[in-house]
């Protein structure tokens, strides 16, 4: 497939056509009041719709149904954002984290078992964080004890987004309690219908309950569901992180630029409280130009990361740079949106399910932006990673216990 300017223009026209025909009209209103079941049904239906168009897993290898060049993916995500298409929220872990783990470290059997299933709607959840292991995954306490042909898992997971609807879980658990902290951890695929498993939703700061606690009491995982070698789980998790990051961010950057920021500008074109329009206020203009510039930088950064990842030239901290920058830029942008939107913004009490991180319910979007600066390694942790792995600065000395 070529990515010349002409080919991309043609592809864009094709996606535009598709979006005009397939993006559901007025889904926002319905999803704003949707219950859980409606949300799941809508997500599954939209995923299949995208799949029919060939747009569900563009980032997967061609043999599994993807194979779209990064430049085309950018166009796809731009158009989906510009046409206000629903986002794949429920299947996010499935098509990104689960798939990239299976592709990078799974067995042929695991891939054959799960990749087609994901295309058919299998939902995954990530089971990494724990109460005592937030940013410090080395503090993981969940154990997986070898027993016969499998492992028996006990422990507790936190911040497992979407666990209530998940079929499968990417699980990190400690298989060698005696090993040093980052060693002795293994990576499993866990069936969420296993006995001994209890899922409880946790309400987040924005009032949504997609995060869950997962309680694990003697859950049995067959040995064939181990990913990579025993005790190498931390390394497996790290290795897939960079790949995931680039691909997920490609979409999110275009959403921020072509949905979130565009709505913000449109909102500023409406009448301002004291008369006139906000967009004609030089203070607002200045800030909009600054944010647009930063978002343009983000978009280029994300594309660059994907390209370098494909070329095998990505730096050891590139994924952290993108995560940190996106998180804080999202937060800054939403903060500004809250400020310019004034009091009426505070009356938006629910954001539509299936929407992006910037839904237009700016106050909730701003609060939701901490879901980016905290989970998956806080901004503070990302800065440490960038300093140490990206710049080679000396590590924090180890403190005697």
């Amino acid at each position: 497939m070529n990515t010349s300017t002409e080919d991309l223009a043609e592809f864009r026209a094709e996606v535009r056509r598709w979006c005009r025909e397939h993006v559901p009209a007025d889904w926002r209103r319905a999803q704003t009041v949707a219950g859980d079941a409606e949300f799941v049904a809508f997500q599954q239906a939209w995923f299949q719709e995208l799949r029919t168009g060939g747009y569900a897993v563009p980032h997967w290898p061609a043999e599994w149904g993807g194979g779209m060049p990064a430049a085309q993916q950018v166009v796809l995500y731009q158009e989906l954002a510009a046409h206000d298409a629903p986002r794949l929220v429920l299947g996010f872990v499935s098509i990104h984290h689960a798939a990239s783990t299976l592709l990078a470290a799974g067995t042929d059997e695991q891939r054959a078992r799960h990749l087609p299933a994901i295309l058919d709607g299998e939902i995954w959840v990530q089971g990494f964080s724990e109460p005592e292991a937030g940013s410090d995954l080395a503090g993981l306490r969940t154990t997986a004890r070898r027993e016969g042909d499998g492992f028996v898992v006990d422990g507790q997971k936190l911040w497992a987004s979407g666990a209530a609807h998940a079929d499968w879980c990417l699980l990190l658990a400690r298989t060698d309690p005696a090993a040093p902290k980052r060693r002795g951890i293994s990576y499993f695929l866990m069936d969420m219908r296993s006995p001994g498993l209890d899922v409880r939703p946790v309400r987040n700061a924005a009032g949504e309950s997609h995060f869950c606690e997962i309680f694990l009491n003697g859950v049995v995982i067959p040995a064939e569901n181990l990913v990579g070698p025993v005790n190498q789980g931390w390394q497996v998790a790290q290795a897939t992180l960079s790949a995931e990051r680039g691909m997920t961010m490609l979409e999110l950057a275009e959403r921020l630029g072509n949905a979130g920021f565009r709505w913000l500008v449109e909102a500023c074109r409406g009448p301002a409280p004291g008369g006139g329009r906000l967009v004609d206020d030089p203070r607002v203009q200045d800030r909009l130009a600054e944010l647009e510039t930063e978002i343009a930088g983000l978009r280029a950064l994300c594309l660059g990361l994907v390209e370098r990842h494909e070329a095998g030239t990505a730096g050891p901290a590139d994924a952290s740079v993108v995560k940190l920058y996106y998180s804080e830029l999202l937060q800054r942008t939403m903060d500004f949106a809250v400020e310019v939107a004034g009091l009426p913004a505070h009356t938006e009490l629910r954001k539509p399910a299936s929407s992006g991180w910037e839904s237009g319910a700016w106050v909730l979007d701003f609060i939701g932006s901490w879901e980016w600066t905290i989970p998956g390694g806080t901004s503070e942790i990302q800065r440490t990673i960038i300093g140490e792995r990206g710049l080679g600065l000396p590590r924090e000395p180890v403190v005697p216990a």
Partner: protein
Amino acid sequence: MSAGPGTAGAAGASTPQDVDDLRELHRELRDVARDMLRKTAGRTGDDEAPVPVDWSLLAGSGWLGLEVPEELDGAGATFAEVAVVLHEIGRAAASSGYLGSAVLGVGALRLLEPGAGRDELLAAVAAGEQRLAVALPAGDDVTIPFHVRPATPGDAPGAGGGARVDGTAGFVLDAAEADQLLLVALDPTGVPVVVRVRPDDPGVTVTGQPVVDETRSLGAVTVDGAVVDAGSVWQFGTDPQESVRRLLDRAALAVACDCLGLAEAMLEATVDYAGTRRQFGRPIGSFQAVKHACADMFVRISVGRELLAAGVAAVASDDPQAGVAVSRAKSYVCVAAVDVAGRAMQLHGGIGYTWEGGVHVYLKRALLGRALFGAPAAHRARLAARFAEPADDPLTE
């Protein structure tokens, strides 16, 4: 973190002894308020929404009449004491009708020409018998929202001698719970007046406006051809335009007091958490990323406290230049409060982002506070108007 510099002003105090006495008084008031609010604030009901502080507790505390003259059974105190209470309410992120009744309601009444109706109402508010809300501009647009004209028999049977009121105001604090509403209105000659109506008067509609911050009660007040008797249209005691400005300054500063209180609470909670939560084998507060962020919060709060103290002193002493100090305090403190609450959420890590963790309550309240009664940019624009031409005496005192 004990009470630092600039605990709300010393207006009216002229000797060092007076200043010390007042400080002591404020300290006592603060301790009582903090203790009471700790016991009652922060509870949620079956619907998980915050339960307001019991009105009888507020009435019993004497806080509702702090600024009501002693002869009307109030405490005869000033805004400096009200500021202490507001600050504690903010620290507790308490849900209460204090702002609507005791701060805006009493504040508006005290700006009016004295009279039997006004005095009666002041006494009733001080006693907690009547709850008020004041319908005044709540955002950046300070256009006066209501209009009064002489009522004609076409407006209502026997309306002669009365007045007809029209207009609408959004985001009126504590409107839904108010027994009486004070509407800031323009009379037929364009002079601001205050009109007293009741929520169930014909032509008056009060609609709740739920906001993301569940600790605040806001409402839209729509008045469509309501007819009131002449005794319910009250004149301001001095320059009416100036009086409205003072009322708006009071509202803005009251929110700033609240915001400083909640920022302090967030810093304390973060310091506590950082001292106990361990990651990588150490309390997270021993890491510079956390420690230095807390230090920055401390600096912001220290500066905000000084600016707020200056604003409170100016308002409490009816300083004609109070607007400058108010706009400085409102713009600085309310931005700082959002930033501090946001940092608190960040430094609390995962727990900070849960509903249970409670940090979100403060962040939402800070965000609403930043928008209420003039966004920071609006207050800065007001300050900047002074820069256009050299002043007679350019000294910033």
